[in-house]
């Protein structure tokens, strides 16, 4: 449980009079408001096109919805039949879930940290989208960021993207990409820059099984 800071500690006791009252008021509002939420990268990336193109939703009658669903189902069956007929049934199901899901835990560098990394099906066989949700990562000073590394042969092998932690809670959700041909046994770690900015630096998060 976080303790509330005291105004004396924050600004010192030498501030007095009207200025102190002014700051005291803001101090109380901040305590009352609580922390602002950390928005997801999707929300932080800006307004979506649907916000400016979308029309006000109108209530759709159940019967209209049923008709729409029936029409969509018919179209889907027809489309699937068409695909199978034209490809000799050779299309492979890609599946909707991640092709790999990895639980990561903090090393001694960040013992309270943890993360889940998901690797999604590559569209072209070599660009594997990844999403990672992490918590408990300390904010790094300045412009320093964490880096996600593909681990092969037991060591950080190739970089897959960087991210920064901006929330005081250390929570972050990032979208990454592994632009490589993956192999069985590949894994990932998260590192922070070593002294002098050397890469791959110190491992901060590693697979739970490691």
């Amino acid at each position: 449980m976080n303790r509330d800071p005291s105004l004396d500690e924050l600004i010192g006791v030498e501030v007095s009079g009207a200025e102190r009252e002014r700051l005291q008021h803001v101090h109380e509002l901040l305590l009352q408001a609580g922390p602002p939420p950390e928005v997801t990268p999707e929300l932080a990336s800006g307004p979506t096109l649907s916000m400016t193109l979308g029309r006000r939703r109108r209530a759709v009658k159940p019967r209209a919805m049923l008709l729409l669903a029936a029409a969509l189902a018919t179209a889907l069956v027809f489309f699937a039949g068409y695909i199978v007929a034209n490809n000799g049934g050779s299309t492979s199901a890609t599946g909707k879930g991640p092709v790999q899901e990895l639980a990561l835990r903090g090393t001694s560098v960040a013992p309270g940290a943890q993360a889940t990394l998901k690797v999604w099906q590559a569209k072209d066989g070599s660009n594997w989208p990844m999403t990672m949700t992490a918590a408990g990562l300390p904010k790094l000073p300045g412009n320093e960021g964490y880096e996600v590394y593909l681990v092969r042969h037991g060591r950080p092998w190739l970089p897959c993207g960087t991210f920064r932690v901006t929330s005081s809670s250390g929570a972050v959700t990032v979208t990454l990409n592994a632009p490589y041909s993956l192999r069985r046994g590949d894994s990932w770690v998260v590192t922070r820059p070593g002294a002098g900015g050397t890469e791959p630096g110190k491992t901060v998060l590693q697979p739970v099984s490691a």
Partner: protein, 209 residues
């Protein structure tokens, strides 16, 4: 300057220099437009203004939605709907009727309440704000409004001021720990904290009094 009723009118005619008509040039864009100016532009479907307004308000709107809906997924949907509503209805905003922040709060709150109704009564049980025995509706509404304004005001701080304020208030760290964490002298952290609080006071004055 405003004229008092007792002021005398001067009856001396001062010859005015002849002015030549100069082709008017478009005014340069305001580098820091007010929320009201942005709303007026959004009312004319100016996407750039909408993006600036979105950047200023996405966290307050998300915070309000999260507070009312208690679920991040629903809150994200509510943010989409709230900004879509702002885009649609910005042209109805009248500055003489109140501050832009209050208008935006009302539009966002209505969009969130709409979503709350669509989620149905079963979802209400998850809402701590609605089930709290400690605060009535009036206090909840006031709390939401305070959070909204404070979170909006935080967007006005310089990043380095905002960083120390957020760490000081919500990380549980002491000022010394914040200084060590950021690798800054303690005096610098205190200076930034104080200047950040003073800037917040300036932004909030007149809004929450």
């Amino acid at each position: 300057m405003r004229k008092d009723k007792g002021d005398m009118e001067l009856a001396i005619e001062v010859p005015q220099p002849r002015l030549r008509a100069v082709p008017s040039e478009p005014a340069p864009p305001d580098p820091d437009p007010s929320d009201a100016e942005l709303l007026a532009r959004v009312g004319e479907h100016d996407r750039e203004a909408f993006e600036i307004l979105y950047g200023r308000y996405v966290r307050p709107v998300f915070g309000l939605a999260l507070r009312r809906l208690g679920d991040r997924g629903h809150a994200e949907d509510a943010v989409q709907e709230a900004f879509a509503a702002i885009w649609r209805s910005a042209s109805t905003y009248r500055p003489e009727r109140g501050a832009a922040g209050g208008w935006l709060y009302t539009v966002a709150r209505n969009a969130i309440v709409d979503r709350l109704r669509r989620n149905g009564p079963a979802h209400d049980a998850e809402l701590p704000e609605l089930t709290s025995a400690e605060a009535g509706p009036a206090e909840q509404a006031e709390g939401s409004w305070v959070s909204w304004r404070v979170h909006r005001a935080l967007e006005e701080l310089q990043p380095r001021e905002r960083e120390v304020i957020e760490l000081a208030y919500w990380s549980g760290m002491s000022q010394s720990e914040v200084a060590e964490y950021l690798g800054l002298p303690l005096g610098t952290v205190k200076t930034r904290t104080r200047s950040g609080l003073a800037r917040l006071a300036s932004v909030l004055e007149g809004e929450l009094a």
